[in-house]
């Protein structure tokens, strides 16, 4: 456990010593700020709608495709390339602690980035436009969970290659696919269901079953269903934590596999 925090601390300090991080912070915060003010004009001062739009709108999901990938590509792939992974994996910390520490650092950085919305909310509250606080806090919490999910996917991609750029690309594609699951699934199902079934009743049942499977993986829906409403639903939290644990587990296994592959 101590190992996890030691690793996370080094990752964070390493992050904040890299110019890359500050450039990302500057650009993301600047663009988010611009979008926020434009939303505020568009909604004619509707504080809650503006915050909701800026925290969960298309811009958020667009960032979510790029940022976790860029952050996680350096976590393992770059260390593997520079050789420091060998140092870390021969230090007296377990693989799990290394993976968890890195994950916490990257997710923590994204959490910090998204907390800029909280500053907007506080500012608006102070200026006389009280936002819907439960929704704001819930959404913020949700963005952290989504960030964690995408970072864990990115880390898995990062362990599968020692080329950081390829890792980032793989991670982006995976995250994009994850977001696009419902749309892709609808297409695939339209072809698949008639092939597997003969009667209309069967078709309906199969489509429904497959639909429920797809829906259970739909991060967007899980996100908007509870957190955006200001509800911290345990089921939704478990949904995200399960997927995060799954990918982190695979990441740890993938790192362990390096010890065998060499």
């Amino acid at each position: 456990m101590i190992g996890t925090f030691v690793v996370a601390r080094r990752e964070l300090s390493g992050l904040f010593m890299a110019p890359f991080t500050w450039i990302v912070l500057l650009v993301v915060l600047f663009i988010n700020g611009l979008l926020f003010s434009s939303f505020l004009y568009q909604t004619q001062g509707n504080v809650t709608a503006t915050l909701s739009e800026s925290m969960t709108g298309p811009s958020f999901w667009l960032w979510m495709i790029f940022l976790p990938a860029l952050l996680s590509m350096r976590l393992v792939a770059e260390e593997s390339r520079s050789g420091t992974l060998e140092y870390l994996l021969t230090a007296p910390v377990s693989d799990a602690a290394v993976v968890l520490g890195k994950f916490l650092a990257a997710t923590g950085f994204l959490a910090l980035l998204w907390s800029s919305s909280l500053i907007y909310a506080v500012t608006l509250d102070y200026a006389g436009g009280p936002p819907d606080w439960p929704a704001v806090i819930g959404t913020w919490f949700g963005t952290i969970l989504v960030s964690g999910l995408f970072v864990s996917i990115g880390m898995l991609a990062s362990t599968s290659t020692s080329t950081p750029l390829l890792a980032a690309f793989l991670s982006m594609v995976s995250c994009l696919m994850w977001i696009a699951i419902p749309f892709l699934a609808a297409n695939i199902m339209a072809y698949l269901v008639p092939l597997l079934t003969s009667t209309a009743a069967e078709q309906a049942v199969l489509a429904e079953r497959m639909g429920s499977v797809v829906a259970s993986m739909d991060a967007l829906r899980h996100f908007s269903r509870s957190f955006q409403m200001g509800v911290l639903d345990t089921a939704e939290i478990v949904f995200f934590l399960t997927w995060i644990s799954f990918f982190l587990f695979l990441t740890a296994r993938s790192i362990e596999a390096r010890r065998w592959r060499g």
Partner: protein, 416 residues
């Protein structure tokens, strides 16, 4: 401190370490030697817990089983990989503190230990410098400092001197020397002189197998015999005669006739102990001009090459002379003029200018065609023979000179 028994490691079809066994006691300094790809780094990585062993009978480092108690091993060793992995964005002190935290050192212990270790490796004034801006040599020192910080019982260094200049290499070597007093050190290198100077014991690996294990001097004695006396001499007698004369000395076991360089003939004399004085005395009685008389020990490098390539040590120590003049079977040429009646004087670097087809046989336009200069050698062993500078003088083997003497002209022609 380190026990390895029947260690095997495969990379797919490639067998990197093949049933390797060795033991290293407390306080020993052992050098791992082998060509690239011999399995040094793989073995070291397995010991450090970075790689898993495909199969191992016993793998114990500092009292901990590598396969069952990897954490225990990692806590008690200092490991410096070849690439010297340090985070470039951290300052030296931060890197040290990170290592300290990974090893669960408390703040107070670190405050004392970090300056101590940095001073030991000689980088106490670089604490605030970014690791990324350090030179290769300094980085190596900082890497050592990082490995030393938790005061490990066992120090494992993979190619600690690779990529360093000779001065830095010497410094790192001295550093390892000073560290070796109180801990077990296993270091690898493919530079033999390196290992020879640091480690009293070497383990030579080749294709994943241990081919030798012992003190360099002992290995040299058991593998290539002891040393030999290198003699380079110029005398009136033929190489064959000289060789048999040397061979008649008491204690001489074998005399190998070596290369002929200019007018000097070299020999390699093997026998009991150091025969230099006897050979020197012989040279004096025979009025040979001694050019070299030295005691040569086979270097680890020669042994190593021998072990790895399976070639004989003699071959490696002294390349076989190419010219027939140097081979013992061919009729040796007489140095001074007129000693041998039938054979023309063809000794390299010593030619008679009175040859019948001498300078005139040279093609037109050849430098020095105008007239041959005759100089008189000041070498007392030359007995006043003159040298023709207009002719190219071969320093290496003389031209083809069949064993039985040819008429003067014929042999001269073959040369020009």
């Amino acid at each position: 401190m380190i026990e390895v028994a029947n260690l095997t490691r495969r990379y797919g079809a490639l067998l990197a370490v093949d049933d390797l066994s060795f033991e290293i006691g407390r306080g020993e300094v052992v050098g791992f030697l082998g060509p690239n790809g011999a399995g040094k780094t793989t073995t070291i990585r397995i010991l450090a817990g970075y790689l898993a062993a495909t199969k191992a009978g016993r793998l114990v480092v500092a009292g901990h089983d590598v396969q069952r108690d990897s954490m225990g091993v990692r806590r008690s060793i200092g490991y410096l990989p070849e690439s010297v992995p340090l985070y470039p964005e951290l300052r030296v002190e931060e890197m040290m503190r990170f290592q300290g935290r990974l090893h669960r050192m408390d703040r107070q212990a670190m405050r004392v230990r970090i300056p101590e270790v940095l001073e030991r490796v000689g980088v106490q004034d670089r604490g605030k410098q970014l690791v990324g801006t350090l030179s290769r040599g300094l980085k190596q020192r900082v890497g050592l400092a990082v490995a030393l910080l938790p005061d490990p019982e066992v120090l494992i260094l993979d190619e600690p001197t690779s990529g360093l200049d000779p001065i830095q290499r010497g410094e790192v070597r001295d550093l390892i020397h000073s560290l070796a007093d109180d801990r077990t050190v296993l270091l690898s290198s493919h530079i033999l002189a390196e290992v020879e100077s640091v480690a009293p014991r070497v383990i030579i690996l080749h294709e994943g197998q241990k081919v030798a294990d012992g003190k360099p001097a002992e290995l040299a004695a058991s593998l290539g015999g002891g040393g030999h006396v290198a003699v380079e001499v110029m005398g009136a007698a033929s190489a064959e005669d000289m060789s048999s004369l040397i061979g008649s000395l008491p204690g001489v076991e074998s005399v190998a006739t070596g290369e002929r360089v200019g007018i000097h003939q070299s020999f390699e004399v093997r026998g009991e102990g150091d025969l230099r004085e006897d050979i020197g005395a012989l040279a004096m009685t025979q009025s040979w001009a001694l050019r070299e008389l030295s005691w040569q020990r086979p270097t680890l490098e020669q042994l190593f090459t021998r072990l790895v390539t399976g070639r004989g040590l003699d071959e490696l120590a002294m390349p076989v002379a190419s010219g027939p003049g140097a081979a013992p079977s061919s009729k040796p040429e007489a140095g001074p003029a007129g000693l041998s009646a039938d054979a023309p004087v063809l000794a390299s670097g010593l030619e008679l200018s009175q040859g019948p087809t001498g300078p005139s046989a040279l093609p037109l336009g050849t430098p020095g065609n105008a007239g041959s200069k005759i100089i008189y050698s000041l070498n007392p062993f030359d007995r006043g023979a003159s040298r023709d500078l207009s002719k190219p003088v071969s320093v290496d083997a003389p031209p083809e000179a069949p064993a039985e003497g040819l008429p003067d002209g014929a042999s001269e022609e073959t040369e020009s």
